[in-house]
């Protein structure tokens, strides 16, 4: 049963299995295990980013395609929900319409970009997605009449999902709509993740991997490389858009900085590479570690910076705002030395 749920792609390492189970248990029981608002927010963020990173891994790790437009698709989903909720009023129908239209927009855009650039040269894709994504980000901040510009949009979601909805106590924790909302995010993320796992372990996923390894040969065997790459792009875009919708439902706010910025694109890249390219479990490990680090490591760096305040330059290097630099260094090193990431390392350790 479990093997079937995982589409036959087992973790294949004891440490990895333990880690994954730990993450699953912590996320599933987050409202009851941890106290307060911040851990719950972190847990929801982890769920959403796992889906987002996994969908990016479908492209980068399995397809060998580098895209810089993933945040654009993420943003399309988020803005879909935001706009629908603003114009249709609070309600589940607005959320549904927003999610679906966001996903459709993402697929159409992905199809256009894909047909255009994947046809010529895979390397064009990276550059063209970068250009298109930045154009979309500029458009969103300029058409402030529709999108709220730099300030973004704040809107109302159904009352059932807000903390105003109290539903008694369970295991010593007050059950509110917020927790219901969390479980909506958690369940949807879990389903999406298992779906992605299904996709990469299907014949389609195998062909994609073959194309990554040697596109010329795959073409010679008779697979239409452009078609497979384009479909992978569309699938990944649609999943990213749904993840964006979940993010919008959870935050009740959408703005360029939280959904469209290039920084988030870099975060996604880091998560994929650190967790491990070409395996869905890498997304789980990478996203969890990264979001935890983002939330808690910056505090630690702040105290380290204060502790070394007397020394020259070092406090500047340890400033919490500079944590991206350390991640950048970590990123370069992991591309060189652990191209298979944490998961690849764990799996290797078992076989040797």
């Amino acid at each position: 049963m479990i093997v079937k749920l995982l589409s036959g792609d087992q973790p294949r390492s004891k440490v990895l299995t333990t880690l994954l189970l730990l993450i699953l248990i912590c996320l599933a029981g987050a409202p009851f295990i941890f106290d307060g608002v911040r851990p719950l927010d972190t847990a929801a963020r982890i769920c959403i980013f796992i889906v987002l990173v996994a969908s990016y891994d479908l492209l980068l790790g399995y397809g060998g395609i580098v895209s810089f437009a993933h945040t654009m698709f993420f943003g399309l989903g988020a803005y879909g929900v935001a706009l629908a909720s603003t114009h249709m009023g609070r309600g589940f129908d607005a959320l549904l319409v927003g999610t679906i239209s966001g996903a459709i927009a993402a697929v159409v855009l992905a199809l256009l970009i894909g047909l255009f650039s994947l046809r010529v040269r895979a390397i064009f894709f990276a550059m063209i997605t970068l250009a298109v994504a930045s154009a979309v980000a500029v458009l969103v901040s300029q058409f402030s009449g529709i999108t709220g510009g730099e300030d973004g949009l704040t809107y109302k979601i159904p009352r059932v999902l807000t903390s105003a909805n109290r539903m008694g106590e369970f295991l010593g924790t007050r059950i509110s709509g917020k927790i219901l909302n969390y479980y909506l995010v958690f369940t949807a993320s879990l389903i999406l993740f298992l779906l992605l796992l299904r996709i990469v372990n299907s014949p389609f996923g195998r062909v994609l991997q073959a194309i990554r390894e040697n596109d010329f040969r795959a073409e010679a065997i008779g697979y239409r490389v452009v078609w497979y790459r384009t479909v992978a792009t569309c699938l990944s875009a649609a999943t990213a858009a749904v993840a964006g919708s979940l993010f919008a439902i959870w935050l009740r706010y959408v703005g360029p900085d939280t959904t469209l910025s290039f920084e988030i694109m870099l975060d996604i890249l880091l998560m994929v590479v650190i967790g491990g390219m070409g395996t869905m479990y890498g997304a789980v490990i990478g996203a969890t570690l990264f979001v935890l680090a983002q939330t808690y490591l910056q505090n630690f760096m702040g105290s380290a910076s204060e502790a070394t305040a007397a020394l020259p330059l070092i406090p500047d290097l340890l400033d919490p705002d500079r944590w991206l630099m350390w991640l950048g260094i970590l990123f370069i090193l992991s591309v060189y030395f652990f191209p298979t990431g944490i998961v690849g390392r764990l799996r290797q350790g078992r076989s040797s």
Partner: protein, 343 residues
């Protein structure tokens, strides 16, 4: 024995259409200028916009030329190229601020020498940085596009953050040297002096680069290397050394572009290189990766397009460039003047 097949060589001139097709990329710039005139109507604002479009195009070309040659020569795509633009701008502007007395007076000689020193400092720093970047970041990942993209993006992040560490997190405002401020009025149109200077510098650089590539031995090796690297190596040239030279020169040019762009905008941020990369990539793609002439035409097109559209419909400036790229890729999927690869 069969008779030899009839062979009738034709000496007909190539048809007008074919000639036009060949020359069209070069004709596109004047066509765009004329279209801009028709769309804008007022000659004075058209002239102002054309000059600023050309100035912007020249600056983008300076940044893009290194990137496109590096790709042509070694198949290396450097997403960290924008880091050199930022570093160049910061170093150059710091020198200019340090030479505040020179830039503050209205003496042309002192102003120009201050800018010259700033440019030299910026190019020296970015050149050395380019050498280090090639050594540490690019060299271990030759031949693997995916890793190249990832690693150079990582390098971009680290360099950008280091700028924050050295120069602080805030943007720096700068005013141009006294004699470069203000505008000349020509035929009723105000043309900023600095833009004229930028056009001049860009033109001189382009012609010099063309000279080096067409008339010198090293240029010959570079062009041959772009077309067929293994063959050049078989003839005994160490292409790797040439490549390092081109990488360093390209980085230094990016630094020069950074200083010029910083003075043009009169404000510099650590993220400016990253923002410029979008335009630089568009230019490299529509010009044809590896082609310096293509990048020149592409840069002028992008600069003019950006300025005309920003005047007509400010919100669509960047989108218009994407549209331009789309149109050109539909017409020529490999870019306007693609380099013929013998590989």
């Amino acid at each position: 024995m069969t008779a030899a097949p009839d062979h009738k060589p034709t000496f007909a001139q190539i048809s007008l259409i074919e000639q036009l097709d060949k020359a069209l990329p070069i004709l596109l710039v004047p066509i765009l200028v004329v279209l801009g005139f028709l769309a804008i109507g007022a000659p004075s604002s058209w002239l102002t916009l054309t000059v600023s479009g050309l100035a912007m195009g020249m600056m983008i070309f300076i940044m893009a030329s290194g990137l496109t040659l590096v790709f042509g020569l070694m198949d290396v795509i450097n997403f960290g190229h924008g880091a050199f633009v930022s570093v160049g701008a910061f170093v150059g502007i710091s020198v200019l601020i340090a030479l505040g007395e020179w830039t503050g007076t209205a003496s042309l000689l002192l102003n120009i020498s201050a800018v010259f020193l700033a440019v030299v400092a910026a190019m020296a720093v970015t050149g050395v940085m380019g050498w280090g970047f090639e050594r540490v970041i690019v060299k271990p990942v030759y031949g693997a596009h995916l890793k190249q993209i990832l690693v150079t993006v990582g390098g971009l992040i680290v360099v950008e953050q280091l700028i924050h560490v050295v120069w602080g997190p805030d943007e720096i405002f700068i005013s141009r040297p006294e004699t470069l401020k203000g505008a000349i009025t020509f035929a009723g149109a105000a043309v900023e002096k600095y833009r004229l200077l930028a056009v001049g510098v860009g033109l001189v650089l382009f012609l010099a680069m063309r000279m080096v590539l067409r008339r010198t031995k090293i240029g010959l090796i570079v062009r041959a290397g772009v077309e067929n690297g293994p063959m050049v190596e078989a003839l005994g040239y160490r292409l790797r050394m040439v490549f390092i030279g081109v990488f360093v020169a390209g980085s230094a040019l990016a630094g020069l572009g950074g200083v010029m762009w910083g003075l043009y905008q009169e404000v510099i941020t650590a993220g400016m290189g990253e923002k410029m990369m979008v335009l630089v990539f568009i230019v490299a793609i529509i010009g044809g990766l590896g082609s310096v002439e293509g990048a020149f035409i592409g840069a002028l097109l992008v600069g003019l397009m950006q300025n005309y559209v920003a005047f007509l419909e400010p919100k669509l400036a960047l989108v218009s460039n994407i549209a331009l790229m789309t149109a050109i890729l539909m017409w020529r999927p490999q870019g306007m003047l693609p380099v013929v690869k013998a590989k």
